[in-house]
Structure formats: structure tokens, C-alpha cells
Symmetry: C2
Subunit: 517 residues, 2 copies
């Protein structure tokens, strides 16, 4: 049947199933524990036939994903790296390791080659010749026929151990040259390690570029790296990345139903939708335990809220089709921009660290500040925030500067996170979606951000909807671009010939053809 | 029938119709043209039997409303004051007159007595004794039976000309003493003008207090003014005020369907829901003409979005029942608080003036900044804001301070306004409400704010819903408290005896009984 399909047509419809074999995938406990969200993902049953370097260039950060083969399995694909313990206090340790690496990387980064993993040019890889079209194993027979197409699956059999690892890097878009240099060095080093001429190496590497910067820096990547560059639609890549990551064991995590308090005090009253009422959202919400999803299953339909510099809200249907239904310009860029003006912090992580020590009540106007008490009739407690930053304004300008950077950071982080949670919830309600995935580099595994988003969803939905998070939250687009490198050359060719989805896209793509090799 | 009802029960259900006779109401062109939103409302057919001073104390501003009789009709209840012309450029003149008075009033304000109007103690008012229960006139017969109850209507007949005026004042909550002093002087001056002892005057004055500060400053008002103070629920007052104001001719205004451009260029292509597509919201949206509602009609059901320091979103049903369905802490207090830290402005109006000269593109990250072009597939133009303040953050801290106060003001004003518009729209959609009223002191008749809110509603609803505004936008609660002074003594008594709506409210009210006279 798969043979028939392969012979029948020049191309398959756009892939609806993940094309990378994720069975046995492990998240690695790497040598750099600071790289909380950029730990490698070990794929024991997968080998890449052609080296693809995927890059997702957003407004603030450029994210890079690439695959390297492993000559032997990782020495310790540690479970510790992937299993959060069951308390919120632990959340900040495994998820937001401290001290965090100052990311995005600035200056010219050293080239960390993971697990002896250089890019592998296909011509040197015996597994491609020997096992390129591996037999379909039993556990794949339940997938739909499209997924069974061997040229799409591009996998090796379970017996081909080890596979290799996906590697993750981040750069500032403002310093995109660092990103280009990194990829350049990666290619050069790979040629050296593989013992092939650089020209040959370049012929076997493709850059899969997505995000807005894929257009802005298209020429730059082509001319600097002298390899083929393909551009992929940003939203399509996000969804592809989401579909892939949600199949990786211990990648997805979420607030469990148990309050930390009730875990440690089993007889205490539990304030949740079933047994009581939820407290209103606040910068110090009730503390729930965290659960990692060890046995992942397909997660569609769902809502994807991607929080980068700005926020995109995407409805994903059960068949993988999607629509960008909403968004807000109040995103990560807003928070970092304002905090860079209002505090001495110079990095994201410094700002997050400040916020953890802050008390928002000095800058926020609480219901109690206005009422002298709660507004019980409306369910507003005295500690509910009536107006973010509402205490700051005063005609006595002498007051300026008396607010601490910590308090300002805590207030703004909550205000931005809660606003995103509120808008996300309203969209999930509108489209009747129970699962709400939050992705994007804004989240950074920061406990307060995750708690705020989680609790906003839990409160507003009265416990019926769930906020879900991803360990590699910022790499959805880059992973999606990497996945889209398989089996879609025909689409790429179509787009290059002006067959884009819209006239505008066709035109914009037509103005700059790929660099010649 | 009205006699029967009066005899039947101790009290009527809470009033569902406006109890003040608004027929013939005019908005006055007063001696202070700066008081854009606090021009008196002349009510030719109404006389107040007991003097009520209503005060709505919010987080930032305290709003005062009181009624004064006119011995003769106002010399020129100018139409100019109430009719905006039909272009957006004129909007800033009649609605946001400049130079604006520096409000809220600081220092001890002079006592402006309007149109010879002191508060009138009921015992001196012959109309109460002669016309206290005026005959029902024909035009009232269409109202429901509740409304016909003469003790509720408390009006005088149409023949009793002139009536008097509602007067409006604002103070900073931070300087609530100025508000107390103003009311104190008003009572003293009224006693003097009426030739009665101050004690007698005080017995005929009641303070109707609402807003959060009604609780916080309850003791203060009672002990300083030595008059009876009654507290009224904030949301109930907002709704009462809305019902009243929407019946005042030329009080309500909104964007018309005609673009300014198409008014002046009748043959140009009109970009609206019927003839084309709407541009996405931006700080410079298409300019529509403005229409004032000269022949008001009941406006329920509707959504009320009250933007003060924080934002309350209230669903009002056709029968006047209501529910606070949503809100956001990102309101006026957030904007003013952040701008007071980021700009040299020391008043609201200075900040608004700054924003009018700004260019948000220097601080906001636009789609074009990320893509180098638009993202046509998603309908995002290159000028669409991807991230508010997204250009500000840079690890090169030397960049700090290179952003102008004007640009920062423009960006933040748009971001806060648009966010409120977005959340308001989603609630209007959820509850299937076509009319969305925006009230609260945040709006200040500022053209950019009104345009942003109006266009956000128009864009997201594809032209099916309308943003509506009120000339006395900030006084909804105070007017509502003033209206609630009529015929509800019995409810007040019930509440004082612990029969409040919730246990918490009963308790809180029980802790401080009214001051004795």
C-alpha cells in the first residue's frame, strides 16, 4: 500500500503526523545544567539523512535546532533532567535552574558539540544506504496510511541504536551575526570531523528558516553560509513543533489538581472547583504541584499561545489545521522593554530574579487600598489588584524613584502574564478548547510566570481548562522548521515558482531567489 | 392605582426606571469651558426636595454631583456646548477643550456656585409643599406602574419652570480633604444664602457616598461634615448613572459609519465592513466622524466598561439587572503610573498632550521590524504592532534614555486602550451585546483614546458592535448615587440593621454606624 502511494503522486498532502520517530526519546541531562530549556533530546531510533539546521528568527531571539548522530548512546540520559518532583518549590530548580545562563548568547559563542555529534553529511552515513528504508514495525501500524509512507517517516528501525540528538541554541536577533557565525563554525567543524571538504559539507546542509527574520535575513544567511536556505511559514512551524514536542516523554508539564498545601497537609480544606471556591488570581496564587507527562498522547485540538516579543494565539483543530485567531502586542517585549527602562537589570534573567524578591503591593493599587476592605459582593478580596501600578502616580513628582526595582518587576511580570492568561482563556472558551499550550521564550520556565498563567486559566475556567507547558517552550518554531525539512521539497519548489498561498507571499519570495551554490 | 401601591407595602422593589424627570434636559455651556466633562446638566422640570450631595470616591479621583435650584432659566443653555460637529478634528475641541483645566482640583478649590444655585433646604422650598405630589402627565403614562409611583418620581410638573442644575466636581482621592472642604463650604454657603442656621441646613443635607472610598472615608465624611452619610453599592450606582445619562439629549456620542476621508472625498473607496475590509487597529486608525445622540432612548441591554484606575466590565440586562462579568487591572492607574515614572509629565493632561506629539514606531516593534515586510498570510501589515515597547530592550544599556517622552506616551496610551478594547469586545461577543458603553475618568474625552477604543470594537466585531461614549463619562457612579437618594430610605434602613446582600457587607457596615446629628 505504501508502495502504491509512493508511486502514485509527486507529493503527499502536507503532513498531518510527526515525521520523526520519537519512540524512546529522552531529554538529556547535559553538561550545561543552565540550559534548562535547551537540553538535547535524544532520539535513539532516528538518524537524519541530510543535515538540516533550523533557525527561527523572532523579534528578539533567534532559535537554532540541529540534529547530530551519536556514535554511542549518551552516558546518562538522566531521568533527573526530565522528572520534576511534585512540589512547586522544586519547580524553580529543575525547570528554572539557577544561576541561569545569561541567554541569549552574546559575543561569539564557543562551539559546543554535543555527544560527539557533528553534523553528518549523508554521503558518509552508512545507515542511509543500509537502512534508509527501514521496515515498518508493528507499533506504527496504527497510524494512518499517510504516516506510513516510508519516505516521510525517514526513520531507521528500532534496532539501529544509537540514533542521535536534537540540539538547541539561542541568540539575540539584534546580534544575528553571532547566530550566523555559530552555524558557520558548526558546518566547518563538521566537515573537519567527518574528513570531507567544506564544499561537500555545504552541499549536504540545508538551512530551514522560519519566523519573521527568515525573510529579513534571508539574503544574509545565504551569502554568509553558502548553503541552501529554505523559508517556512512561521505559524505552520509552530504547530509542527507543538505536535512533535507533545510526543516527547516528560516534555509537557502542568499544574496538578493537588494544592501543595494539601499535599503536605492532607486533611486541610482544598480550595478547588470541586470542594470549594478558587481564590482570585494574584501574584501569589495558591501553589499547586507540578506533573510531567511521561506517556504523551496526541494533544489536538488545542489552543497554542505563543509568547515571544508579542503574542500569537492559534486555534489548532483535531486534524492539525489551524488559524491565528487572536494575539496581543503586550508580550515579552513589552515586559522586558519597560523593565529595561525602569530597573537596572540588563538581562531577562536579572529581571526575573528581581521580580522574585519584590512586593507588588507597594506599586499596585489593591481593592483594600480603595475600599479599606474587600468588595465581597463582587468577590473581590482586599488583596485583589484593582489597578496595576495604580499607586505610582502622584502629582507630587518628588515621589518618583521611590519604588524599588524588585517591586516594579514583580508587578509588571504579573500584569503582563495575567493579561495574557485572561485573553487566552477567553479564546479557549470561545472555541471550546480544553487544552491551552503556552510556548515562547517569554516563559523561561519561571515559576511565577507559569503559576500566573496556570492559575489564571484554572480560575477563569473554574477548573475545566488546563494550562500546559513545554520544557523546550521557546523552540516550537525551530523544531517545526526542522521537521518540515522532510519530504516537502516539492512544496518548496512550488513556492519558489510563485505558487505561495497569497499573492503577497509569492511576491515577497519572488524578489529574492535562493543563493546559488 | 398609585395610591393603592403606596398603601400596599412598606417599599417598592429597587427602582428599574430613572426617577428624575429628564424631559427637556440641557447640557450647559458654562462659564468654565475647560470643564469638558463636568458641565452642568439643566433639568427644567425637576426640583430636589432634599439636598443630596453625591460623592463617588475611586482609587484616584473623587467625583461630586449635587443639584441646585435655578431661580430663573440659564441665560444660554448653549447648543454649542452639546453638539459636536461632524469631524474627528473637531472632536478634540468640543469634547476635549484645551487648554484643559488641571484636574483633579488640588489645593482648596474656590466655591463656584452655579446659576445662583445654592443647595436648597426642603423646609424653605414652597414647591415641595405646593407641588410635592404633582399630577402625572400624559407622557409618563407609557412607563410601567412602578415608575408611576409619585413618591418615587419626586418631580414637579412641567409647569414648574425653571428647575435647576446638576453640578459636577472632581478631586484627587489622595487629597480627599479638599473634597470634604468643598462640600463643607457648599453647605455653609447654602445656609447663608438661604438665611437658615447651619444646623438646620445640615439636617436637610445627605451625603450619598459610593465607590471604594465610601467605605474607607465613611467616618471622615460624617465627622467632618456633621451630616448624614449613606453608602451605596458601587456597581449599582454605575448602572443607575448610566441609565440616567443615556436619557440626556446630546450626552451620548459615538463614531458614525462615515470615514472622515470619505466625507471629504465622497468618491474614494470606503474601507468598512460592507464595502471592503477594515484595517487592523493601530495608534492611527481610520478617522470616522462623530455623532451625538440628540433623541436618546433606553440603551439596555448593554455592556458597561468603566475605566478608572482599574477596569470593571459589567453586563447589563434589559431589565436593568447586572453582573460584573470581567475586568482588568491594566487601566488608567497603570498608564498614569508608568508614564509618571517614564516621562516628566506631572498631570494626566500633560501625558495626553505628550502622546499626541509622539511616534510609537520608535519604541514599538512592528511586524515590519521583524519580517522586513508584512505577514500577509495572517493579515498583518508591516505597520501592525507586534510588540508594544518591543524595541526598547537591548542589552546595550547605553540605549536607556534615548526614547522620547512623547513616543513612550503614545505607545503606552495605545497599548492600554487597545487592550481594554480587545477584552471589552470579547465580553460583548460572549454575551451577545451590541452596545458597549465606555465610562470612567480614564477617557477624558481624549480623541486618541476614543478612536482607539471605537476602532478596536469596530474592527473586531466587523462593524456589528458599537463603542458608545458619554460626555460625563467619569460621573456615572456619582450620578447614580445621587439618583439612589430617592425613595429608598427603607432599603437604607434595612441595610443599617444588618440586612445587606452579603454577610461581609453587613458586617462591614455594622462596624461603623452613621454619625449622630
Amino acid at each position: 500500500m505504501t508502495q502504491t502511494m509512493a508511486a502514485a503522486g509527486p507529493s503527499l498532502p502536507s503532513a498531518k503526523a510527526i515525521q520523526v520517530y520519537t519512540r524512546g526519546a529522552l531529554i538529556l541531562d547535559e553538561e550545561s545544567p543552565e540550559t534548562r530549556d535547551s537540553r538535547g533530546i535524544y532520539l535513539p531510533n532516528y538518524v537524519e539523512p541530510v543535515s538540516h539546521v533550523a533557525v527561527d528568527i523572532g523579534g528578539s531571539l533567534a532559535k537554532v535546532v540541529y540534529f547530530t548522530r551519536s556514535p554511542e548512546p549518551p552516558s546518562s540520559p538522566s531521568i533527573v533532567a526530565t522528572k520534576g518532583s511534585n512540589t512547586i518549590s522544586d519547580l524553580s530548580t529543575p525547570i528554572s535552574s539557577s544561576p541561569s545562563r545569561e541567554t541569549p548568547i552574546s559575543g561569539s559563542p564557543p562551539l559546543h558539540l554535543r555527544i560527539n555529534g557533528a553534523l553528518t553529511p549523508s554521503i558518509l552515513d552508512p545507515s542511509i544506504h543500509g537502512h534508509g528504508h527501514a521496515p515498518i514495525t508493528n507499533d506504527l501500524l496504527n497510524l494512518d496510511s499517510d504516516s506510513l509512507h516510508s519516505s516521510l517517516l525517514r526513520r531507521v528501525s528500532v534496532q539501529h541504536f544509537p540514533g542521535g540528538s536534537l540540539n538547541f541554541e539561542r541568540f539575540e536577533t539584534e546580534h544575528i551575526d553571532n547566530c550566523v557565525t555559530f552555524i558557520h563554525d558548526l558546518i566547518s567543524r563538521s566537515a573537519e570531523l567527518n574528513g570531507v571538504p567544506i564544499e561537500e559539507m555545504r552541499r549536504s546542509v540545508k538551512i530551514m528558516a522560519t519566523g519573521g527574520g527568515a525573510h529579513r535575513f534571508y539574503e544574509l544567511f545565504g551569502s554568509e553560509l553558502l548553503v541552501e536556505v529554505r523559508r517556512e511559514d512561521e505559524m505552520e512551524c509552530l504547530i509542527e513543533g507543538l505536535k512533535f514536542l507533545t510526543l516527547i516523554p516528560d516534555e509537557v508539564y502542568y499544574f496538578s489538581d493537588e494544592l501543595i498545601h494539601s499535599v503536605s497537609h492532607p486533611n486541610a480544606k482544598v480550595l478547588n472547583g470541586k470542594d470549594g471556591v478558587y481564590e482570585r488570581p494574584s501574584p501569589d496564587p495558591p501553589k499547586y504541584s507540578v506533573t510531567f507527562e511521561s506517556n504523551p498522547s496526541p494533544q489536538l485540538p488545542c489552543l497554542l499561545v505563543n509568547i515571544g516579543s508579542g503574542v500569537s494565539i492559534i486555534r489548532v483543530d483535531e486534524d492539525g489545521s489551524f488559524e491565528r485567531v487572536s494575539g496581543t502586542s503586550l508580550g515579552g517585549g513589552t515586559l522586558w522593554g519597560l523593565l529595561s527602562l525602569l530597573t537596572p537589570a540588563t538581562t531577562f534573567d536579572e529581571m526575573l530574579a528581581l521580580s522574585e524578591k519584590g512586593d507588588n503591593a507597594t506599586v499596585d493599587m489593591l481593592v483594600g487600598d480603595i475600599y479599606g476592605q474587600g468588595y465581597g459582593k463582587m468577590g473581590l478580596k482586599s488583596t485583589t489588584i484593582a489597578s496595576s501600578f495604580g499607586k505610582v502616580f502622584s502629582k507630587e513628582s518628588g515621589k518618583k524613584g521611590t519604588f524599588s526595582a524588585e517591586d516594579i518587576s514583580k508587578s509588571l511580570l504579573y500584569a503582563v502574564s495575567n493579561n495574557i492568561g485572561q485573553i487566552a482563556y477567553m479564546n479557549a472558551e470561545k472555541y471550546n478548547l480544553e487544552r491551552i499550550y503556552f510556548g515562547g521564550c517569554f516563559i523561561r520556565g519561571h515559576a511565577a510566570t507559569i503559576s500566573t498563567l496556570s492559575y489564571a486559566i484554572r480560575f477563569w475556567s473554574k477548573g475545566t481548562k488546563r494550562a500546559l507547558f513545554l520544557r523546550h517552550e521557546g523552540f516550537l518554531g525551530a523544531i517545526g522548521a526542522w521537521i518540515k525539512s522532510f519530504g516537502e521539497d516539492s512544496e518548496d519548489v512550488r513556492r519558489r515558482h510563485g505558487g505561495g498561498d497569497t499573492a503577497e507571499e509569492a511576491t515577497s519570495l519572488g524578489t529574492s531567489s535562493p543563493p546559488s551554490l
